[in-house]
């Protein structure tokens, strides 16, 4: 049984085809879903891909939060549907309140485009369930505003509830507690700055993103 994945496309998204290619290669079917769409119930899992939704005007994700599809996404997530926000998608999920915290400009004020090492911290999220705690994944980052921040209380909650799913081995952007990705309490909504879809084929230099996407797709199929 293959998962049906909806990939949200806002004006300015630009990684939707990369994600479609990567999940298709893993056996899923992928549809691009324009941001004016109000229903997502045809899908087993939904990905919010990278890019510059609505031009990143005001703040990354700030306008995208009010797109009709984001409202549908909140409902989809509330019902337990797997939701994956990658890079700009992570920023959208924090702005929409589906994940806590915010992503601010990188420490050092430079746009970062490099491959980094990530440490898998937990398998309790839909994205990391197929990985091994402590496993190191070699996956690209590509962002200017990837510096994760949150209140002290939120950080304590994230740690206590085992919701930091991925940490940078060498913090590239100043993120608090080396955080590269987090999940919600239930583990079905995940956000991360690195791009697993760009590490999904030997031609791309790494296939370490596959184990994450495979976990996500497995979580999507289970709900059928």
């Amino acid at each position: 049984m293959s998962a049906r994945v909806g990939i949200v496309v806002y004006p300015g998204s630009n990684c939707e085809h990369d994600v479609a290619e990567a999940v298709s290669a893993l056996g899923a079917s992928a549809d691009l879903v324009w941001h004016s769409e109000t229903r997502l119930d045809a899908y087993d899992g939904v990905v919010v891909p990278g890019g510059f939704a609505h031009g990143d005007y005001l703040r990354p994700g700030a306008i995208a939060r009010f797109s009709p599809v984001t409202v549908a996404l909140e409902e989809f997530a509330r019902r337990g549907g797997p939701v994956l926000g990658i890079c700009n998608g992570f920023q959208v999920l924090t702005e929409a309140g589906l994940l806590p915290g915010a992503l601010q400009k990188n420490r050092g004020l430079t746009f970062l485009c490099e491959t980094v090492d990530l440490r898998v911290e937990t398998t309790r999220s839909v994205l990391t369930q197929a990985a091994i705690p402590g496993q190191i994944l070699h996956i690209p980052i590509n962002h200017f505003e990837g510096n994760y921040t949150c209140s002290v209380a939120t950080l304590r909650e994230l740690r206590d509830q085992d919701r930091v799913i991925l940490r940078y081995e060498a913090n590239p952007n100043g993120s608090v507690d080396d955080i590269a990705g987090i999940c919600n309490v239930e583990g079905n909504v995940v956000g991360l700055m690195p791009h697993p879809e760009r590490a999904s084929d030997p031609l791309l230099g790494s296939i370490d993103g596959r184990v994450l996407l495979e976990g996500f797709l497995a979580g999507a199929v289970v709900r059928r």
Binding site: A102, R107, L109, C150, G174
Partner: protein, 95 residues
């Protein structure tokens, strides 16, 4: 109804790193500016609001600031109603 000029200033909350402000401050000595400290970078929004009073205009701008213009996780905002605009309101235009 009146129309009011409003300014919303959005700034980073204390404790949130401000690399832009820090970078600008570091550049100042090279430009010959001395004695300038505590540089921080934020945003300012100006718009007009139709409302029955300055208080109402301020309340509506506050809501806009909280829901959209500022991200409360990292930013704080200040609303200032600067003036009642002289131009006629919608009702008066039709006289």
């Amino acid at each position: 109804m009146m129309r009011y000029d409003v300014m919303v200033e959005v700034r980073l909350r204390p404790g949130i790193a401000d690399p832009q402000g820090a970078t600008i401050q570091r550049a100042l000595p090279a430009l010959g500016f001395s004695g300038i400290e505590d540089v921080s970078v934020g945003k300012a929004f100006r718009f007009t609001v139709e409302a029955a009073s300055a208080d109402e205009a301020s309340a509506r701008a506050e809501e806009l600031a909280h829901r959209l213009l500022a991200n409360p996780v990292i930013e704080a905002s200040t609303v200032t109603v600067t003036a009642a605009v002289a131009r006629a309101t919608a009702g008066a235009e039709r006289r």
